[in-house]
């Protein structure tokens, strides 16, 4: 799966902002997100908790609480979903855009059988008999590789394991052959051993329906195997966008590099994992400048004052990356750097030793490192 343009555009999000009122002032959960999804394509959205990736998807589904203030446009197949009525949204949800949530233990209603809950999704959009909906439910359970689907269809959620339940949720998502499936951290709540199986079921679902997919995760390993393109989010904004290979091999934003550094790699066993110091900023009363500044080893005066725009970057080899964009004042310094070199206990000094030309001398003093 490489970054081929798979089909015509199906979903375009532009200038999306989401603000929640709170006791401490407005919470700006999403501060301007743009992305385009093509038919059949898999877009990975990566970021830590609170980076706004889930809120972005809920905004697409129109499932944010009524207190949320949403601005921007979300065009789905030519229709602006933010301007659509609740009735129109009801017709789109489950029929054309489906969503898979993080926790399979709580996603299913405990008092109905899984078959009923799948059939319900079919009956909401198709004028078929209950018996036909049940047949469809059994068929779907088979597609997501649940053994003995004709018996399991009458099980209650509590009789199934977490992995099985998440397969049921995937079956619900694919019930009406949607155009887009949004999977919000589909494997995070599961045991490592079943994560791969569930991802496989998800891939099978995507193949069977031909849907485009938005795959939200904080696990870069999941992204690497599935996504065509990747968007990295931090503090409610995309900070780097590009093809999956651009992001993995030539990251141009220190945060992405940090995420890669936190990822265990089997191909380089000797390398030590490098955590990113600190935690994401509070999205209430955000200071000006780049939000990653307090945790960034490359931060300088300009980072504290001006928030960088998302702009196209050139790859290390000099060829212009196709659609590879990053939001960093020092993105050119990062060409070819490894996480361990940038994020080190000693701060940024190491980088100088590796000969990367410092454009801004203050960036490399120990001032920012802690």
């Amino acid at each position: 799966m490489t970054d081929q343009q798979t089909g015509p555009e199906i979903l375009r999000v532009s200038g999306l902002t989401v603000t929640f009122p709170s006791g401490d002032g407005p919470v700006r959960a999403v501060r301007g997100v743009d992305y385009t999804l093509h038919r059949g394509e898999v877009l990975g959205i990566v970021g830590e908790s609170g980076s706004g990736k889930s809120v972005t998807s809920l905004a697409v589904m129109g499932l944010l609480p009524p207190t949320a203030q949403v601005e921007g446009t979300i065009r789905f197949d030519g229709v602006d979903l933010l301007a659509a009525s609740e009735d129109e949204l009801t017709r789109v949800r489950g029929e054309r855009i489906a969503m898979i949530f993080q926790d399979p233990m709580t996603s299913l209603n405990p008092v109905y059988t899984v078959g009923y809950q799948i059939a319900e999704a079919v009956l909401a959009h198709r004028d078929v008999s209950k018996a036909a909906a049940r047949e469809r439910a059994i068929e779907l359970l088979g597609t997501v590789r649940i053994p003995n689907p004709d018996q399991r269809v009458d099980s209650y959620p509590h009789e199934l394991s977490g992995g099985m339940r998440q397969r049921v949720v995937i079956a619900i998502a694919m019930a009406n052959d949607p155009d887009v499936i949004i999977a919000d951290e589909p494997t995070t709540a599961l045991d490592v051993t079943v994560q791969a199986q569930v991802m496989e079921a998800l891939a099978a679902a995507q193949r069977a329906t031909g849907a485009a997919m938005v795959l939200i995760t904080h696990d870069l390993g999941v992204i690497a195997g599935q996504a065509d393109r990747v968007m990295v989010m931090y503090a409610g904004k995309p900070v780097e966008v590009g093809g999956v290979e651009d992001i993995f091999y030539t990251p141009r934003m220190p945060y992405t590099l940090g995420l890669l550094g936190s990822l265990p790699r089997l191909d380089r066993p000797a390398e030590r994992l490098t955590p990113i110091p600190g935690s994401p900023p509070s999205v209430v009363n955000m200071p000006p400048g780049c939000p990653f500044t307090p945790r960034c080893p490359l931060s300088s005066e300009v980072c504290r004052e001006v928030e960088p725009e998302l702009v196209g970057v050139e790859d290390a080899a000099g060829t212009s990356g196709d659609g590879h964009r990053a939001a960093c004042h020092h993105s050119s310094q990062l060409a070819g750097a490894a996480a361990g070199e940038v994020f080190d206990a000693g701060g940024g000094e190491d980088l100088t030793g590796h000969g990367a030309a410092p454009a801004d001398p203050t960036a490399l003093t120990g001032e920012a490192g802690r």
């Binding site: 969503m99 926790d103 909401a124």
Partner: protein, 326 residues
Amino acid sequence: MLLYAVRRIVISIPILLVSSFIVFWLGTLSGNPLTPLLLRNPPPPQSVLDAEAARLHLDEPLVPRYLAWLGGVFRGDFGPSVIATQDIGEELATRFWVTMRLIIVAMIVALVLAVLVGVYTAVKQYSKSDYAATFIGFLFLAMPSFWLAILLKQGGIDFNTIVGDQVIYTIGASSIPPPDGLLARVADVAGHMVLPTIALALISYAAWSRFTRASMLETLNSDYVRLARAKGLPRRTVMFRHALRTALIPLTTVTALDMATILGGAVITETVFQWRGLGDFLIESIRQFDTYAVTSWLLISATIVIVLNLVADLLYGVLDPRIRYA
């Protein structure tokens, strides 16, 4: 499910038995049944006291006395009353339905009101009507039931004065003598029930509406309701089939647990409106140190509560598949 039901029923039997012993023991703590005799002036001769003590089995130790009483209860004999002419069992039987019709109707009224308001305020969380309902709920939680009942009674009297006719009855459970004709009799009983029902219902309503609201908020914010909406189910379907259906399950337990409180509330309501029901019987029996009557009353009320809890348990099993197999 059958196994679950049988197990619940079997567990209830020892609970009832232990409860009956505790009740009997509590009865002995309610005072000496000879007190009214002892307070007489001039005091009655010792032989009279001894005879009365023997009639009331006071000369026997606690456990044999309890066993004899329990054996009698199974035969319909609830023990000797202080008032020699009074049959406790008969008295309880005639008063039972007077009180039960008040309790049952009040519970239904309270439940319907609580669910309506609880659901509405959960859906309209933080709206003006939510705040208003919350405040009213807190107000009823803080209102002494006897005070509210007296206020309602006075309201009824004032209303009748203004109208110039006896429209709302404020005293008794029915007219004496009862009016002729079945329809007139039913209307008479219903007319007498209006105010006591409101008084009794409002007390439970407060707690139940708060509970329904919280329970409904929990399901409304649950992941499965969000998934139901993501499936494209219409808002009403999500609300009733997924949110409300699941939110109401714990209310069965809460209602059953509150049964004891409602029985206590009925004691007060009956006192204020001068009903000759179970509550009135209890008050009179306590005043007269009629320990067997008090004990039998407590046994009846404990049985009602335990049976209702059993019913709620079984109902819970039907409504929530997770319990059935546990």
